[in-house]
């Protein structure tokens, strides 16, 4: 079997932590020997990539695109609405552990700007109203 890279293994590790979406120290230590002989190296990789986190996050990671096309299509008002709805700022997690709000570089969805992703699902043509509906339905648990 071909040896997987530290990055691949970190993604797998994080994906398994569905509720908290992060890489714990213990899980990172389990990658020692097989992928790297140093925990600091693993930590360096895990903190370099924004898709990875070493701190517990929410069940849903909301990544709102902060690039130019989205900005011109009023992404700021969408972002403000998200902050109001969730009561958190960027990089923060709601106290119930459900949502984490993050900024993202271009998601490649300029044609449907402003855009965001929630976990692996893309959302486009956003308005503050639409965002409210999406969050409400996630809160109600009707969506995965």
């Amino acid at each position: 079997m071909e040896k997987k890279s530290v990055l691949e293994r970190l993604h797998e590790t994080q994906d398994k932590e569905k509720e908290k979406n992060y890489i714990s120290e213990q899980k990172a230590s389990e990658l020692l020997k097989e992928n790297s002989d140093s925990l600091s190296h693993i930590y360096g990789v895990a903190t370099f990539y924004t898709m990875l986190s070493v701190k517990p996050r929410g069940r849903y990671i909301i990544r709102i695109c902060r690039n130019l096309a989205c900005h011109l299509e009023n992404a700021d008002s969408v972002a403000e609405e998200l902050k109001n709805l969730l009561g958190i700022g960027f990089g923060e997690t709601t106290t119930d552990g459900k949502f984490t709000l993050e900024e993202s570089s271009c998601l490649g969805m300029c044609s449907v700007a402003p855009a965001m992703m929630i976990n692996d699902e893309p959302y486009g043509n956003l308005t503050p109203e639409k965002v409210k509906d999406i969050i409400e339905s996630l809160k109600a648990g009707s969506k995965k």
Partner: protein, 596 residues
């Protein structure tokens, strides 16, 4: 010079030169007397070109080139002082200064800070750029040896590279990205809670005050001012070969007598020598080796003097700790003997005795704090003389060579013009074998001098063991002792230690006895020695210090540990015999499997 090496013609600031084609621009310029400033480059160790200070102009290239990582080429025309070079260097320096605290007056690295010196050299008056960091980083004080202040860090990466390449410890990394990058330990646990060996090589190469030793200068001054305290000091062998550098003397100046005189003037009641307990170590360790040979013990046996090395094996090769000699390091043997034998001899309450060590080493600070090193306390408990509940340590404070120099300076002592003075008796008497503990190969050579004579009963004709001297990473020798060939190996720098340990792990190690020291060059290259980052990649500085050590050895009347009269007296009056019951309790120790 390599005969196959092609030379090429280059122009530097308009002058033509013939240069070896494998040179970098930085090396080419230095060879003709033009020093290119840099804050990150360490030849062979840190060659990332991250600081951007070394830029030069090269004709036909649009952008400026980083001199440290650009090789010269035929007909290259290099300019080192054009307006665009000066402007770029100054701008890069200003950017580095934007987030750097301006507390140089009270920074412990102040006098030896490369960043401060460069700012002075550039004649920079201010930084045009404002601080961008919203919140300051927490200072990492989790280690008893090393303090890490990320606010002063300029992200040169020297520390990370040294920890990874020279030591293969990888206790630190660059965490996060872009403007959020910092040097960090895994999961921000702090140096005291990760596999850091406290060797302090990172401290030696740090160009700012981001990495320094944890200072205990104030604590020692306070103790010296207590009238009922009996404060004594021991000085490690390597200190006498380097502390002169702190007072402007050339590297390699041996200043033993002046150091003793200075410490006496600082106020220490007695000035003793760790070389005394180095001789004691040889008595115990040599006997242990012979005991293992006779009882088919664990081989190879490995020395245990270097506390960085000890923590390294406890973390990375915990299954091999049975190979370690059970002997304490000379520092710890000294403390145990001072607070028992010597205190008893003088009729001093050991609780009133304060033992200060001056070491070339940051890891010794950690070693002194190991909970198991309270053997003197246990000795007095068993005797029934002291019935306290709180234990006292064998060693109270450890100062680096640099801290000792600071105390001497603060004490207003005219170090340069002092007349030589002798160490106090009895714990200041040592043989030449004790001296050479400072150099890589020295412990082994000292052990051979004694083991040979103990086994054969004959006098060793040639004391110098040249094949295990010098700065090769791993040195080996076959020693014939009464018809038995003892195979020995010596490694310095923990990346070299790994090679010998992997051999043991694979069952392929042919050796009986191995000496390992954590720092390149041994203690003379220790993390507590005077700063000189620009000499770090080279061998000159270590060679000069090492030759000062060998000079002291050559000048000693007694050059073998077992011939040290005070050591003989110690065994006769107090310890009994090597590996005896008292020795076992006071001079030997156990290790901890730490893992990673």
């Amino acid at each position: 010079m390599d005969v196959n090496m092609q030379t090429v013609e280059v122009k530097i600031n308009g002058q033509s030169y013939n240069m070896n084609e494998d040179m970098t621009i930085l090396e080419a310029c230095e060879s003709v007397g033009i020093k290119i400033p840099t804050l990150c480059y360490l030849k062979g160790i840190c060659e990332e070109g991250s600081c951007g200070i070394c830029v030069v102009e090269v004709k036909k290239f649009k952008a400026l080139r980083r001199a440290c990582i650009t090789k010269i080429m035929a007909d290259m025309e290099i300019f080192t002082n054009t307006p665009s070079v000066r402007e770029a260097r100054r701008t890069n320096l200003e950017l580095l200064l934007a987030n750097h605290p301006k507390d140089c007056l009270v920074c412990s690295k102040s006098a030896s800070c490369d960043l401060r010196k460069l700012t002075e050299d550039f004649g920079l008056k201010e930084s045009r750029f404002e601080k961008t960091r919203a919140k300051d980083f927490e200072i990492d004080i989790s280690s008893p040896s090393i303090v890490r202040d990320p606010n002063k860090c300029i992200l040169c990466r020297r520390c990370v590279e040294v920890c990874s390449k020279v030591q293969k410890v990888n206790a630190i990394c660059i965490a996060n990205r872009g403007s959020n990058s910092t040097v960090s330990t895994s999961f921000e646990k702090g140096l005291g809670n990760v596999e850091c060996t406290n060797c302090g090589q990172c401290v030696l190469v740090c160009p700012t005050g981001a990495l320094t030793e944890k200072e205990y200068i104030e604590d020692v001054w306070k103790e010296l001012a207590e009238p009922e305290k009996f404060v004594i000091v021991q000085t490690a062998p390597a200190v006498r070969a380097s502390i002169g550098e702190e007072f402007g003397l050339p590297a390699g100046t041996l200043v033993t007598g002046r150091m003793v005189a200075a410490l006496r003037r600082v106020g220490f009641k007695k000035v003793f020598d760790t070389q005394f307990s180095a001789d004691l170590t040889i008595m115990e360790e040599g006997s242990e080796l012979l005991h293992r040979l006779n009882s088919k013990g664990v081989f190879p046996m490995i020395t245990s003097c270097s506390p960085g090395w000890i923590k390294f094996i406890e973390h990375f090769y915990p299954d091999l700790i049975g190979h370690l000699s059970s002997c304490k390091s000379p520092q710890q043997m000294f403390g145990a003997v001072a607070k028992t034998y010597y205190a008893e001899k003088l009729g001093i309450d050991p609780r009133k005795m304060v033992v200060v060590s001056i070491m070339p080493c940051t890891a010794k600070k950690f070693e002194a704090r190991r909970p198991e090193f309270d053997s003197a306390f246990n000795y007095w408990q068993e005797k029934g003389t002291i019935k306290d509940i709180t234990a006292f340590s064998d060693i109270d404070y450890v100062l680096t060579t640099r801290e000792a120099a600071k105390m001497i300076k603060e004490g207003g002592i005219d170090f340069i013009h002092l007349k030589d003075e002798d160490f106090d008796a009895p714990l200041g008497m040592s043989s030449g074998a004790g001296v050479i503990f400072a150099n890589t190969g020295g412990v082994m050579e000292a052990a051979i001098r004694t083991a040979y004579e103990l086994v054969t009963g004959k006098s060793l004709e040639k004391l110098e063991c040249k094949s295990i001297r010098g700065l090769d990473g791993i040195k080996t020798a076959d020693i014939d002792i009464a018809g038995t060939t003892i195979k020995v190996a010596v490694a310095h720098g923990l990346s070299n230690a790994r090679i010998l340990l992997d051999e043991i792990k694979e069952g392929k190690s042919p050796y009986h006895f191995i000496e390992i020291m954590a720092c390149p060059g041994g203690c003379i290259g220790g993390g507590g020695q005077p700063y000189n980052a620009s000499e770090y990649s080279g061998t000159e500085l270590r060679k000069k210090r090492a030759s000062a050590i060998y000079k002291e050895d050559e000048g000693k009347k007694v050059r073998k540990s077992h011939e040290n009269e005070e050591i003989k007296a110690l065994y006769k009056e107090f310890l009994g015999k090597p590996l005896g019951e008292k020795s076992h309790k006071l001079l030997h120790t156990k290790y901890t499997k730490r893992g990673i």
